[in-house]
């Protein structure tokens, strides 16, 4: 699909729209449907669409595989790390109330941070799996 002008142009314009929607789902999960998991999938879909049109080499230049590996583990680390931080502050694992002086505010910070961790891991892993399959088809 590398030489199809229509697809190339549309992919270029759709990528930021899909990515923006992913971030909306990520940070609006408190009020609407969605959250880190769905946002991660949507963000990876934006990259997969780009890869399908522009090819694996171009996509790997934008986001190299080793970056994905680091991101995937960083997400889990952020999530579990939040739990460890609340334990160090003297509470239970993932007890967000302690993250701020005001429990409600602590809950907000905690949910935001763990959703972010989940989203990072999900999008990185989805892309990693897709790259693994696509790379295998190439070689």
């Amino acid at each position: 699909m590398k030489h199809n002008l229509l697809l190339r142009v549309i992919a270029k314009y759709l990528f930021p729209v899909i990515a923006l929607f992913a971030f909306y789902v990520q940070f609006h999960g408190d009020f609407g449907p969605g959250g880190g998991f769905q946002a991660g999938v949507i963000l990876s879909v934006a990259f997969i669409f780009y890869t399908l049109v522009y090819g694996l080499e171009t996509a790997e230049q934008i986001i190299p595989p080793y970056v994905l590996r680091i991101l995937a583990s960083t997400g889990v680390l952020i999530y579990a790390g939040t739990g460890v931080v609340t334990m160090l502050m003297g509470g239970n694992f993932l007890d967000y109330d302690l993250l701020s002086l005001n429990p409600i505010e602590g809950q907000h910070i905690g949910i935001l941070v763990i959703e972010l961790g989940g989203g990072i891991t999900v999008s990185a892993i989805m892309l990693m799996i897709f790259f693994a399959f696509a790379g295998r088809a190439r070689s």
């Binding site: 449907p33 959250g35 879909v45 995937a72 889990v76 989940g118 897709f130 399959f133 790379g135």
Partner: protein, 192 residues
């Protein structure tokens, strides 16, 4: 009063249409032999399920089903298909009478089992009685999150969600170990 009847009718119509499409897609998947078509039909099946979840007011589940079931898994299955040589499924040599019998009996037992399940949205069912009243009544003052599903997933059941994220992480590691990585590709190139 008239409006309520119309709404119920429309709801029933949407339910029947979606379920009919679901059944048609499932039957088509069984009859098709071309794997590419089957994968596309799987995506359509997921999309219809997502529609059903929306009808049942489970927006978060519908969202996940549409994004993962219809989106990512279709792409991943297509990527897998690109790796295989044979895109046609072989016709089974004989009629599968015994499996059909097993499926019919199991299906019948499951349908029989549904008669004991409380009706959809029944407020007196055990699932609604345990911790759910607490979530519905207290989640906004305890977490300040408007979406109860998010409050349950991220706060009350944060530990479970950590498990989910770890499962996805582990799945990614598994795929990388099996087919990913530069080492394998380079070795293959040397072999060629």
């Amino acid at each position: 009063m008239k409006n309520i009847t119309v709404t119920v009718l429309i709801d029933a119509l949407i339910d029947i249409t979606l379920l009919a499409f679901l059944a048609i897609t499932a039957i088509a998947i069984i009859h098709m032999r071309n794997l590419f078509v089957i994968i596309m039909l799987f995506g359509i099946f997921s999309l219809h399920s997502a529609g059903l979840f929306v009808v049942m007011d489970a927006a978060d589940v519908a969202f996940t089903e549409a994004a993962v079931g219809a989106g990512i898994s279709t792409v991943l299955m297509l990527a897998t298909l690109a790796l295989t040589k044979n895109h046609e499924e072989k016709k089974p040599p004989h009629h599968a009478r015994l499996p059909l019998l097993v499926v019919l009996i199991t299906g019948g037992a499951l349908v029989y089992g549904t008669y004991d399940i409380p009706s959809f949205g029944d407020p007196m069912s055990p699932a609604q009685q345990h911790v759910k009243p607490h979530y519905i009544e207290r989640s906004i003052e305890e977490t300040g999150v408007a979406n109860i599903v998010t409050a349950v997933l991220a706060s009350y059941r944060g530990y479970d969600t950590l498990g989910e994220v770890t499962v996805i992480f582990t799945a990614g590691i598994g795929v990388m170990l099996l087919i990913g990585g530069r080492l394998l590709r380079r070795k293959k190139q040397e072999d060629d």
